[in-house]
Symmetry: C2
Subunit: 138 residues, 2 copies
Protein backbone atom coordinates (compact mmCIF):
# COMPACT_ATOMS: atom_id res chain seq x y z
CA UNK A 1 0.00 0.00 0.00
CA UNK A 2 1.08 3.52 -0.75
CA UNK A 3 0.30 4.86 2.72
CA UNK A 4 -1.27 8.29 2.93
CA UNK A 5 -2.57 8.17 6.47
CA UNK A 6 -2.90 6.34 9.77
CA UNK A 7 -6.31 5.46 11.14
CA UNK A 8 -6.88 4.48 14.76
CA UNK A 9 -10.11 2.74 15.83
CA UNK A 10 -10.36 3.20 19.57
CA UNK A 11 -12.75 1.61 22.06
CA UNK A 12 -12.82 3.45 25.38
CA UNK A 13 -14.67 1.65 28.15
CA UNK A 14 -15.60 2.40 31.74
CA UNK A 15 -15.47 6.12 30.96
CA UNK A 16 -16.85 8.92 33.10
CA UNK A 17 -20.54 8.71 32.17
CA UNK A 18 -21.26 12.37 32.85
CA UNK A 19 -18.40 13.55 30.69
CA UNK A 20 -19.26 11.34 27.73
CA UNK A 21 -22.84 12.62 27.83
CA UNK A 22 -21.81 16.30 27.80
CA UNK A 23 -21.78 17.74 24.29
CA UNK A 24 -19.90 20.93 25.18
CA UNK A 25 -17.24 19.03 27.08
CA UNK A 26 -16.76 16.53 24.26
CA UNK A 27 -16.60 19.17 21.54
CA UNK A 28 -13.97 21.11 23.47
CA UNK A 29 -12.01 17.98 24.44
CA UNK A 30 -11.99 16.54 20.94
CA UNK A 31 -10.71 19.83 19.51
CA UNK A 32 -8.03 19.94 22.22
CA UNK A 33 -7.05 16.35 21.40
CA UNK A 34 -6.56 17.36 17.78
CA UNK A 35 -4.36 20.26 18.82
CA UNK A 36 -2.33 18.11 21.21
CA UNK A 37 -1.64 15.80 18.27
CA UNK A 38 -0.35 18.73 16.26
CA UNK A 39 -3.37 19.00 13.95
CA UNK A 40 -5.15 22.09 12.65
CA UNK A 41 -8.87 22.16 13.49
CA UNK A 42 -11.07 23.32 10.61
CA UNK A 43 -14.66 22.43 11.55
CA UNK A 44 -16.62 20.65 14.23
CA UNK A 45 -20.11 19.14 14.13
CA UNK A 46 -21.61 17.64 17.29
CA UNK A 47 -25.07 16.31 18.10
CA UNK A 48 -26.57 14.99 21.32
CA UNK A 49 -29.33 12.41 21.57
CA UNK A 50 -32.34 11.83 23.73
CA UNK A 51 -32.23 10.24 26.26
CA UNK A 52 -28.45 10.11 26.11
CA UNK A 53 -25.37 9.89 23.91
CA UNK A 54 -23.36 12.27 21.77
CA UNK A 55 -21.91 12.03 18.25
CA UNK A 56 -19.32 14.42 16.98
CA UNK A 57 -16.69 15.01 14.36
CA UNK A 58 -13.71 17.31 14.13
CA UNK A 59 -12.49 17.98 10.60
CA UNK A 60 -8.78 18.75 10.67
CA UNK A 61 -6.47 19.82 7.87
CA UNK A 62 -4.92 16.37 8.23
CA UNK A 63 -8.24 14.36 8.10
CA UNK A 64 -10.58 13.84 11.11
CA UNK A 65 -11.44 12.76 14.62
CA UNK A 66 -14.86 11.33 15.48
CA UNK A 67 -16.59 10.17 18.65
CA UNK A 68 -19.83 8.37 19.43
CA UNK A 69 -20.79 7.73 23.03
CA UNK A 70 -23.08 5.31 24.83
CA UNK A 71 -23.18 6.74 28.38
CA UNK A 72 -25.46 3.89 29.48
CA UNK A 73 -22.49 1.55 28.91
CA UNK A 74 -19.73 4.01 29.83
CA UNK A 75 -18.47 3.43 26.28
CA UNK A 76 -17.07 5.75 23.63
CA UNK A 77 -16.09 4.79 20.06
CA UNK A 78 -13.38 7.12 18.77
CA UNK A 79 -11.57 7.19 15.50
CA UNK A 80 -8.64 9.31 14.53
CA UNK A 81 -7.43 9.53 10.94
CA UNK A 82 -4.34 11.63 10.29
CA UNK A 83 -1.87 12.14 7.53
CA UNK A 84 1.35 14.07 7.37
CA UNK A 85 4.55 14.11 9.33
CA UNK A 86 3.50 16.75 11.86
CA UNK A 87 0.59 14.97 13.48
CA UNK A 88 0.78 12.12 16.00
CA UNK A 89 -2.65 10.46 16.39
CA UNK A 90 -1.41 8.48 19.40
CA UNK A 91 -1.08 11.68 21.38
CA UNK A 92 -4.73 12.46 20.70
CA UNK A 93 -5.67 8.92 21.80
CA UNK A 94 -3.73 9.32 25.04
CA UNK A 95 -5.33 12.72 25.66
CA UNK A 96 -8.85 11.36 25.15
CA UNK A 97 -8.16 8.29 27.27
CA UNK A 98 -7.16 10.59 30.11
CA UNK A 99 -9.88 13.23 29.71
CA UNK A 100 -12.77 10.80 29.30
CA UNK A 101 -11.39 8.92 32.30
CA UNK A 102 -11.51 5.58 30.52
CA UNK A 103 -10.42 2.58 32.57
CA UNK A 104 -9.81 0.44 29.51
CA UNK A 105 -8.64 1.27 26.01
CA UNK A 106 -8.37 -0.85 22.89
CA UNK A 107 -6.68 0.62 19.84
CA UNK A 108 -6.58 -0.88 16.37
CA UNK A 109 -4.19 0.84 14.00
CA UNK A 110 -4.45 0.82 10.20
CA UNK A 111 -2.71 2.38 7.30
CA UNK A 112 -4.89 4.15 4.78
CA UNK A 113 -3.88 4.73 1.21
CA UNK A 114 -3.70 3.29 -2.25
CA UNK A 115 -3.67 -0.52 -2.11
CA UNK A 116 -0.88 -2.41 -3.83
CA UNK A 117 -1.83 -4.26 -7.00
CA UNK A 118 -2.33 -7.56 -5.20
CA UNK A 119 -4.60 -5.94 -2.61
CA UNK A 120 -7.04 -4.46 -5.09
CA UNK A 121 -10.51 -5.94 -5.35
CA UNK A 122 -9.94 -7.16 -1.84
CA UNK A 123 -13.02 -7.23 0.34
CA UNK A 124 -11.81 -8.81 3.52
CA UNK A 125 -15.14 -9.59 5.08
CA UNK A 126 -18.63 -8.73 4.03
CA UNK A 127 -21.10 -8.98 6.82
CA UNK A 128 -24.82 -8.63 6.42
CA UNK A 129 -25.59 -9.07 10.08
CA UNK A 130 -26.37 -5.99 12.06
CA UNK A 131 -24.87 -4.88 15.32
CA UNK A 132 -26.93 -4.15 18.35
CA UNK A 133 -27.40 -0.47 18.86
CA UNK A 134 -27.81 1.54 22.02
CA UNK A 135 -31.03 3.44 22.55
CA UNK A 136 -29.19 6.68 22.07
CA UNK A 137 -28.25 6.06 18.46
CA UNK A 138 -31.35 4.45 16.98
CA UNK B 1 -16.93 -7.95 21.96
CA UNK B 2 -20.36 -6.60 22.64
CA UNK B 3 -20.89 -5.20 19.15
CA UNK B 4 -22.59 -1.84 18.90
CA UNK B 5 -21.67 -0.94 15.34
CA UNK B 6 -20.01 -1.86 12.07
CA UNK B 7 -17.16 0.23 10.69
CA UNK B 8 -16.03 0.02 7.07
CA UNK B 9 -12.65 1.44 6.01
CA UNK B 10 -12.83 1.88 2.25
CA UNK B 11 -10.08 2.72 -0.23
CA UNK B 12 -11.47 3.90 -3.57
CA UNK B 13 -8.89 4.17 -6.33
CA UNK B 14 -8.85 5.32 -9.94
CA UNK B 15 -11.85 7.56 -9.19
CA UNK B 16 -13.15 10.35 -11.40
CA UNK B 17 -10.70 13.12 -10.50
CA UNK B 18 -13.10 15.96 -11.20
CA UNK B 19 -15.83 14.49 -9.03
CA UNK B 20 -13.57 13.82 -6.05
CA UNK B 21 -12.35 17.41 -6.19
CA UNK B 22 -15.85 18.91 -6.21
CA UNK B 23 -17.02 19.82 -2.71
CA UNK B 24 -20.67 20.34 -3.63
CA UNK B 25 -20.84 17.05 -5.50
CA UNK B 26 -19.20 15.15 -2.65
CA UNK B 27 -21.38 16.70 0.04
CA UNK B 28 -24.53 15.83 -1.90
CA UNK B 29 -23.30 12.35 -2.82
CA UNK B 30 -22.20 11.47 0.71
CA UNK B 31 -25.59 12.54 2.10
CA UNK B 32 -27.33 10.48 -0.58
CA UNK B 33 -25.14 7.49 0.28
CA UNK B 34 -26.28 7.78 3.89
CA UNK B 35 -29.91 7.86 2.82
CA UNK B 36 -29.47 4.90 0.47
CA UNK B 37 -28.12 2.95 3.45
CA UNK B 38 -31.25 3.80 5.43
CA UNK B 39 -29.59 6.35 7.71
CA UNK B 40 -30.88 9.69 8.97
CA UNK B 41 -28.60 12.63 8.11
CA UNK B 42 -28.16 15.11 10.96
CA UNK B 43 -25.22 17.35 10.01
CA UNK B 44 -22.58 17.73 7.35
CA UNK B 45 -19.21 19.51 7.43
CA UNK B 46 -17.09 19.72 4.29
CA UNK B 47 -13.89 21.58 3.48
CA UNK B 48 -11.92 21.88 0.27
CA UNK B 49 -8.18 22.44 0.03
CA UNK B 50 -5.83 24.40 -2.15
CA UNK B 51 -4.64 23.30 -4.65
CA UNK B 52 -6.91 20.25 -4.47
CA UNK B 53 -8.67 17.74 -2.26
CA UNK B 54 -11.79 17.68 -0.13
CA UNK B 55 -12.51 16.43 3.38
CA UNK B 56 -16.01 15.92 4.65
CA UNK B 57 -18.13 14.25 7.27
CA UNK B 58 -21.79 13.38 7.49
CA UNK B 59 -23.10 12.88 11.02
CA UNK B 60 -26.02 10.46 10.97
CA UNK B 61 -28.31 9.35 13.78
CA UNK B 62 -26.59 5.98 13.46
CA UNK B 63 -22.95 7.32 13.61
CA UNK B 64 -21.08 8.79 10.59
CA UNK B 65 -19.65 8.74 7.08
CA UNK B 66 -16.38 10.52 6.22
CA UNK B 67 -14.40 11.13 3.06
CA UNK B 68 -10.94 12.51 2.28
CA UNK B 69 -9.82 12.81 -1.32
CA UNK B 70 -6.50 13.07 -3.12
CA UNK B 71 -7.53 14.00 -6.67
CA UNK B 72 -3.89 13.97 -7.74
CA UNK B 73 -3.91 10.20 -7.13
CA UNK B 74 -7.55 9.57 -8.07
CA UNK B 75 -7.90 8.27 -4.51
CA UNK B 76 -10.60 8.66 -1.87
CA UNK B 77 -10.49 7.34 1.70
CA UNK B 78 -14.00 6.71 2.98
CA UNK B 79 -15.20 5.38 6.27
CA UNK B 80 -18.71 4.41 7.23
CA UNK B 81 -19.66 3.65 10.82
CA UNK B 82 -23.23 2.55 11.47
CA UNK B 83 -25.18 0.98 14.25
CA UNK B 84 -28.71 -0.30 14.42
CA UNK B 85 -30.73 -2.82 12.49
CA UNK B 86 -32.12 -0.40 9.91
CA UNK B 87 -28.90 0.75 8.27
CA UNK B 88 -26.78 -1.20 5.79
CA UNK B 89 -23.34 0.44 5.39
CA UNK B 90 -22.55 -1.81 2.42
CA UNK B 91 -25.25 -0.09 0.40
CA UNK B 92 -23.56 3.26 1.05
CA UNK B 93 -20.22 1.75 -0.01
CA UNK B 94 -21.71 0.46 -3.25
CA UNK B 95 -23.35 3.83 -3.92
CA UNK B 96 -20.10 5.73 -3.42
CA UNK B 97 -18.12 3.25 -5.50
CA UNK B 98 -20.53 3.88 -8.36
CA UNK B 99 -20.90 7.65 -8.01
CA UNK B 100 -17.20 8.40 -7.58
CA UNK B 101 -16.56 6.10 -10.53
CA UNK B 102 -13.90 4.12 -8.72
CA UNK B 103 -12.24 1.39 -10.72
CA UNK B 104 -10.97 -0.40 -7.62
CA UNK B 105 -12.37 -0.74 -4.13
CA UNK B 106 -10.89 -2.23 -0.99
CA UNK B 107 -13.12 -2.61 2.05
CA UNK B 108 -12.03 -3.59 5.54
CA UNK B 109 -14.88 -4.34 7.91
CA UNK B 110 -14.72 -4.11 11.70
CA UNK B 111 -17.05 -4.47 14.59
CA UNK B 112 -17.08 -1.63 17.08
CA UNK B 113 -18.18 -2.01 20.65
CA UNK B 114 -17.19 -3.00 24.13
CA UNK B 115 -14.23 -5.39 24.03
CA UNK B 116 -14.49 -8.74 25.77
CA UNK B 117 -12.49 -9.13 28.97
CA UNK B 118 -9.56 -10.80 27.17
CA UNK B 119 -9.42 -8.04 24.58
CA UNK B 120 -9.06 -5.17 27.03
CA UNK B 121 -5.75 -3.39 27.29
CA UNK B 122 -5.11 -4.63 23.77
CA UNK B 123 -3.09 -2.29 21.60
CA UNK B 124 -2.57 -4.23 18.44
CA UNK B 125 0.14 -2.14 16.91
CA UNK B 126 1.64 1.15 17.93
CA UNK B 127 3.40 2.87 15.11
CA UNK B 128 5.44 5.99 15.44
CA UNK B 129 6.23 6.24 11.78
CA UNK B 130 4.31 8.74 9.76
CA UNK B 131 2.51 8.25 6.49
CA UNK B 132 3.22 10.29 3.46
CA UNK B 133 0.65 12.96 2.90
CA UNK B 134 -0.65 14.48 -0.29
CA UNK B 135 -0.08 18.13 -0.92
CA UNK B 136 -3.74 18.79 -0.45
CA UNK B 137 -3.89 17.72 3.18
CA UNK B 138 -0.72 19.18 4.64
Amino acid sequence: MKALGIHLLIELTSCNRQKINNLDYLERTMAQAAEVAGATVLKTAFQDFNPQGVSGVVVIAESHLTIHTWPEYGYAAVDIFTCGTKVDPWKAADFLNEHLEAHEIQIRDFRRGIPAENEKHQVEYRSIEHAECGSAHN
